[in-house]
Symmetry: C2
Subunit: 349 residues, 2 copies
DNA sequence: ACGATTTGGGAAAAGGTTTTCTCAGAGAGA
DNA sequence: TCTCTCTGAGAAAACCTTTTCCCAAATCGT
């Protein structure tokens, strides 16, 4: 019989340890450690020899052992209840971006509005000695279904309701709304309306209020915002309400929408009525959800909440907290940005 | 002067260790460990006393120390290049679901089609001694921009191109297409066309081929699929091509679309032409992207790739690999599922 | 009552790294 | 030549838990 070929072992040999490097270089582990970390005193020749040996052997320090000793794991947890990631993913990208260069990895935990699951995840993260936690969600006026107020690690809240006294980062919804409405005003629009989501959302009020303020500042007529749902269907309905009444002169010439889906519905409904966008009516959305904003006809001008920046800031804030530097508690609002596409037209000559 | 109130320390006292529990219970750490893990021999009374002490003190074992010893970190990495998470997030949800009950946490790493970033993340994960890695992406016929073929830890590929000899899980696109076309046939549709994405995608061919097969099996006419982009705009264009020519009798009575955005475009374009959906033409999409499928008018019947299940399976497969049980290498295709809404009509009486 | 076995529990090593001490030898100053 | 100060490097503790081995006391059998 021929000797059977050994099946390739699924897991290769164990990683090379500092002890092995030290042995290969003919020094003690202490010296090896110091050589690699630029600590201690030794001849440049010794240090270089050890470094070379480590390189040759492909040595990488065991992060677990380091963490155990340093009481710092270079690991943070990102807690979210935003299953589809509309908001958390851009945020996560920013967080990750801010942290990866510091060698920090991110545990993503979806708690799904389930307290038990949240508890489970938080305990798992704590057991794994995360250096800190970033809490995020799908709306900024609700808590996650889990209590993070008395943890042994710092917590930063981003795009979710912070606990009192904690560090919170949210988008400046009022500012975003200003951006949109002022853009309309600048383009010469005069009858500007606001169609937004459910009354139960804090951002709905913040944006509506800012909208009203800007209109007043410019001496333009204000009307009650139309509140409904975050859906295309509501955009259609709203158009029916706004443009259903006869008398073209009463019609708005601009609609600022609470999100891009509403705006999409509004634009489609306007086209169905033969009302031209942007010639007759300008439309601005919110969220700058590119896949929607770019698919509307014409492409949608929209307010971007800069969630990636928000995530970056949250990551940096957490890093600073982890480093022992106290951060100013309270809610910090980060500016939005208007992404101009073609649903508003150009300024009058 | 009144004594200043001490500012609350940002980080509370360090976690309680096994040593402290042992001291409080008047036993050695060895005994304490055994008591808590159900190991060793001791009187039930002693064991219970230690357990109670631990509970009182809020002891939780340091996962880092455990991992160091067991050579198992209860941590896995999820590598993706799907920045917006259309595909990775449902998948991630499934993975997480499969793993959380085993106390396994997931590092989410977005590598963004950037080899350097990929390298960075993989090394960080390896340094942190992840038990395994799940690789995923935004299309199943492309590799991630990072080499995972000779890692010391098991790797499972889900919804991305696996390395040869590795374990790969993907959706059964051909099966999904069959589901859609057979649904049309069952409803009595006879002139069924296929509008899909760019030719460069493997799934485009798989689905088109399956589509052709089903039509042949039923003796129905086949036509070349229309290949374009994954966009609404292409859906509009395709309708122009299909329904532009005069002679209503040559028109299709069913359009199977390569994704929901195309389907959305198709439905909108049909309505604009006064062609009724589903009465005149049935439409089926792919991906079951709920936010799109539910916003089309009428709501879109669509093929769901069961990405959460895919994620679950990937998680379980990885767990099994980590546990040392060899898994069958090669690509396993998981079935799709047809989500029926209202864009196809009801079966004829 | 004496040896054999069981019982309850502790000591110590292991896991990989960092850091603080310690120490032998070398060079310098007198 | 004798002491003092560096210099280069190692020993060992520490981080926290698990597990193997070991030992004394108690129980059992005869």
């Amino acid at each position: 019989m021929s000797a059977d070929a050994e099946p390739a072992p699924v897991s290769a040999k164990p990683p090379v340890t500092l002890r092995e490097v030290a042995a290969a270089a003919g020094v003690s582990v202490a010296t090896a450690s110091k050589a690699l970390n630029g600590q201690g005193r030794m001849t440049a020749e010794t240090r270089e020899r050890i470094r070379e040996t480590a390189r040759l052997l492909g040595f990488r320090p065991n992060s677990l052992a380091q963490s155990l000793l340093r009481k710092r794991s270079f690991t943070v947890g990102l807690l979210t209840n935003d299953t589809y990631g509309r908001f958390s993913l851009p945020l996560m990208a920013g967080v990750s971006d801010a942290l990866v260069d510091n060698g920090v990895s991110v545990f993503l935990c979806n708690v799904e509005d389930d307290t038990r699951l949240g508890q489970l995840h938080v305990e798992a993260m704590l057991d794994k000695r995360v250096d800190g936690i970033i809490a995020t969600g799908k709306r900024i006026d609700r808590h996650l279904p889990v209590d993070l107020s008395n943890l042994r690690v710092p917590v930063v809240y981003a795009f979710t309701q912070p606990d009192p006294g904690a560090v919170g980062l949210v988008s400046d919804d009022a500012g975003g709304a200003r951006l949109a409405v002022e853009h309309f005003v600048r383009l010469g629009r005069r009858r500007i309306t606001h169609v937004s989501g459910p009354e139960s959302f804090a951002v709905v009020h913040a944006r509506a209020e800012a909208c009203r303020e800007v209109l007043q500042e410019h001496g333009l007529p204000t009307a009650e915002p139309l509140l409904g749902a975050w859906s295309e269907a509501w955009g259609h309905e709203a158009v029916a309400k706004l443009f259903g009444k006869a008398g073209r002169e009463g019609w708005p010439d601009a609609v600022f929408c609470g999100n891009d889906q509403i705006a999409r519905g509004v634009i489609d409904a306007l086209r169905e009525r033969g009302i031209r966008v942007p010639e007759d009516v300008g439309v601005i959305g919110f969220d700058n959800w590119e896949i929607v904003a770019e698919a509307t006809r014409p492409p949608l001008t929209s307010v971007d909440m800069n969630l990636a920046s928000l995530g970056r800031e949250a990551g940096l804030a957490l890093l600073s907290l982890v480093g022992g530097r106290a951060a100013v508690p309270g809610i910090r609002k980060l500016p939005c940005r208007l992404v101009v596409r073609q649903s508003c037209g150009s300024p009058p000559e």
